[in-house]
């Protein structure tokens, strides 16, 4: 059991981070804390994807100019899969835009209600 936790520690960290972020998005009453939770949640997903591609002692999947003329890069077991990293580059772009939109909306809310506490906003809206 202990081995299972230690050998897959990156996945455990991903799950813990994701749950912290999820809690903050749902449970916290402050809008900026919710955004921070959202960012934690998304970052945890990046960690997950990058973990799936990680490999000890793997080489780069480049055939030309590679070590030994790319002899290692041809075997699937020997190289590190670059695709999850590339997917995460796109996902990072999406996450940054989400963060930007969320912050812009929070600024609009602050200008209108002069507070960032959800309870206070709900009280004013009644």
């Amino acid at each position: 059991m202990f081995d299972f936790i230690v050998s897959k520690y990156n996945y455990w960290i991903y799950v813990i981070l994701m749950m912290i972020g999820f809690y903050a998005m749902i449970g916290k009453r402050n809008l900026v804390k919710k955004i921070i939770g959202m960012n934690l949640f998304q970052t945890a997903i990046i960690l997950f994807f990058v973990s799936t591609a990680a490999k000890r002692g793997g080489t780069l999947p480049i055939i030309e100019h590679g070590h030994d003329h790319g002899a290692h890069a041809i075997e699937a077991a020997a190289y590190i899969n670059p695709l999850p990293h590339v997917l995460m580059l796109t996902a990072i772009v999406v996450m940054v835009s989400t963060l930007g939109v969320a912050l812009a909306i929070v600024i609009a809310i602050y200008r209108r209600y002069n507070t960032l506490e959800e309870d206070e906003i709900l009280r004013q809206r009644k």
Binding site: F41, Q42, P84, T98, I109, R125
Partner: protein, 496 residues
């Protein structure tokens, strides 16, 4: 050029979104015509694509010439061509409608509005046409981000409603992305066709089950399936009327499309129906949505908010068709994607026109509307009859197939739910029609002098889309047999 039509459907609105921004900063008045040109071209391209699909079958388009499963592939079969045409046509109608409403509601933001509008449509079209799971995530986020921004431009409560939508929408999108990740771990592929080849051997793997659960929850949030609908009523009530008219018919329908794709194309029907009992759970959630949406709508006095709750209940209808998981049920669900898109379009366009003329939308304030706006209100009544499900409007036919599907499945509870919801809809719409058409008794008896009420029909750019939507509701009802025999019977996933 013509053979490139699948990619043009998506690329044209995307490029024109940036052209709108450039030309708009130079001359504000150019935004509207540019948007119309872009959406007309995109609509023509999608019509051509549908025509090609009907005559010669599924189209595979390889972006940049990279073969799948390595490159991104666009796949247009009957189902996606059908939804493509619906999306591009409704987007075009809403764009025609937008002119006056945007000038009144968002006078300083016209340029950015049209830029976001086109990006939103790009997102919807991309979701429908793509054959790649990760590409679908990117388009889903393009559509959602444009939607958050558009909703936030609305009236007083809009930014707060939009913020809640951001939180929920991001949870949904992240769950979808996790689903993609889990599938990639076990299959090493992102291409939908490739996945459906590899997955059957892995159906008993726990990773695949987790991925499926993530997909379903994520998509359910995006399509506002009860009980994950909480973001929808606020967001669609406070958004500008044009934005609601674009988002309400399309976002939920595109979500339903993604759900059908994942359940029956990426996974086989055998997996979703027999291996894990997900369809029966969906059926019960849908029944809950139908009743809950209608009951909550009864409690509203704000017309737009009432329609938003009716939308929650309509999402339930489509999901019920998916949950029934037989041929009739799915025919009803796919037909309802078309019918409900037009019903919701007509209703929200009419509410926008009423708001434009009078600035009011509380149900008791609608008095004398049938004299002020006779044509607009006539379309409202047609759409209302269609939501209730009275023949020959199109709403009747999709409900008919859903009821047949429920009988085939032996689920009598669902038959009862469908009938009860029709009755609830009668009450709901009668309240509005009573307020708008019937005049107070007191004024009639005292003197009987007709109050002079000037006729204030909606402006022409609003009236034309409203009338087209009304005509659509009637003609899709009359032509529903033909639509089913030429398109929908081929759109039903293999295995039914």
């Amino acid at each position: 050029m013509i053979s490139q039509s699948p990619v043009l459907v998506v690329v044209i609105p995307l490029i024109f979104a940036f052209l709108t921004l450039l030309f708009g900063l130079w001359r504000k008045g150019l935004c509207y015509p540019i948007t119309l040109v872009a959406l007309s071209l995109s609509f023509l391209a999608s019509l051509h694509t549908l025509n090609t699909v009907i005559t010669s079958g599924t189209i595979h388009y390889y972006l940049g010439g990279w073969n799948p499963p390595w490159g991104i592939e666009y796949v247009v079969d009957h189902l996606s061509a059908f939804v493509l045409v619906i999306v591009s046509f409704i987007a075009l109608l809403v764009a025609i409608y937008s002119k006056k409403s945007v000038e009144q509601e968002l006078p300083e933001k016209i340029v950015y509005f049209y830029c976001l509008f086109l990006l939103q449509v790009t997102g919807f079209l991309g979701i429908v046409i793509t054959g790649d799971m990760f590409n679908l995530y990117v388009f889903l986020e393009i559509a959602s981000l444009a939607g958050y921004a558009l909703i936030a431009t609305g009236e007083d409560g809009a930014p707060f409603a939009s913020f809640n939508y951001v939180i929920f929408g991001t949870i949904g999108a992240c769950f979808y992305l996790l689903g993609v990740g889990y599938l990639y771990i076990v299959t090493g592929s992102l291409n939908i066709a490739d996945l459906s080849q590899i997955l059957p051997n892995l159906y008993h793997s726990k990773v695949v089950l987790v991925a499926f659960a993530f997909f379903l929850v994520g998509v359910s949030i995006k399509m506002a399936l009860f009980p994950l609908h909480v973001w929808l009523p606020d967001a669609y009530t406070y958004a500008p009327s044009t934005v609601t008219a674009l988002l309400a018919p399309l976002m939920t329908k595109v979500g339903a499309y993604v759900m059908i794709r994942i359940m029956f194309t990426v996974f086989e029907p055998y997996f979703s129906i027999e291996l894990i009992p997900v369809t029966s759970i969906l059926g019960w959630m849908a029944a809950g949505a139908i009743i809950f949406g209608a009951v909550m709508a009864l409690a509203q006095t704000d017309l737009k908010r009432m329609l938003a709750y009716i939308l929650v209940s309509e999402v339930g209808y489509i999901t019920l068709g998916i949950g029934l998981a037989n041929r009739n049920g799915l025919t009803g669900a796919i037909l309802h994607i078309l019918n409900d898109a037009f019903m919701m379009l007509a209703l929200f366009l009419v509410v926008g026109a009423i708001m434009y003329r009078s600035g009011k939308r509380e149900i008791p304030q609608l008095r004398y509307l049938h004299r002020k706006m006779p044509l607009t209100m006539a379309v409202f009544v047609i759409a209302a009859l269609s939501v209730i499900g009275i023949p020959p409007t199109c709403g009747f036919f999709s409900k008919w197939y859903l009821i047949l599907g429920a009988i085939d499945a032996g689920k009598w509870v669902f038959v009862a739910v469908l009938l009860i919801s029709s009755l609830l809809n009668v009450i709901l719409f009668f309240r509005v029609i009573e307020s708008a058409y019937l005049e107070p008794v007191a004024e009639h008896s005292s003197g009987g002098s007709e109050l002079a009420i000037a006729r204030e029909e909606s402006p022409l750019t609003m009236l034309i889309p409203i009338l087209i939507a009304g005509a659509g509701i009637m003609s899709f009802g009359i032509l529903s047999g033909k639509i089913i025999s030429t398109i929908i019977q081929f759109a039903i996933p293999i295995g039914f």
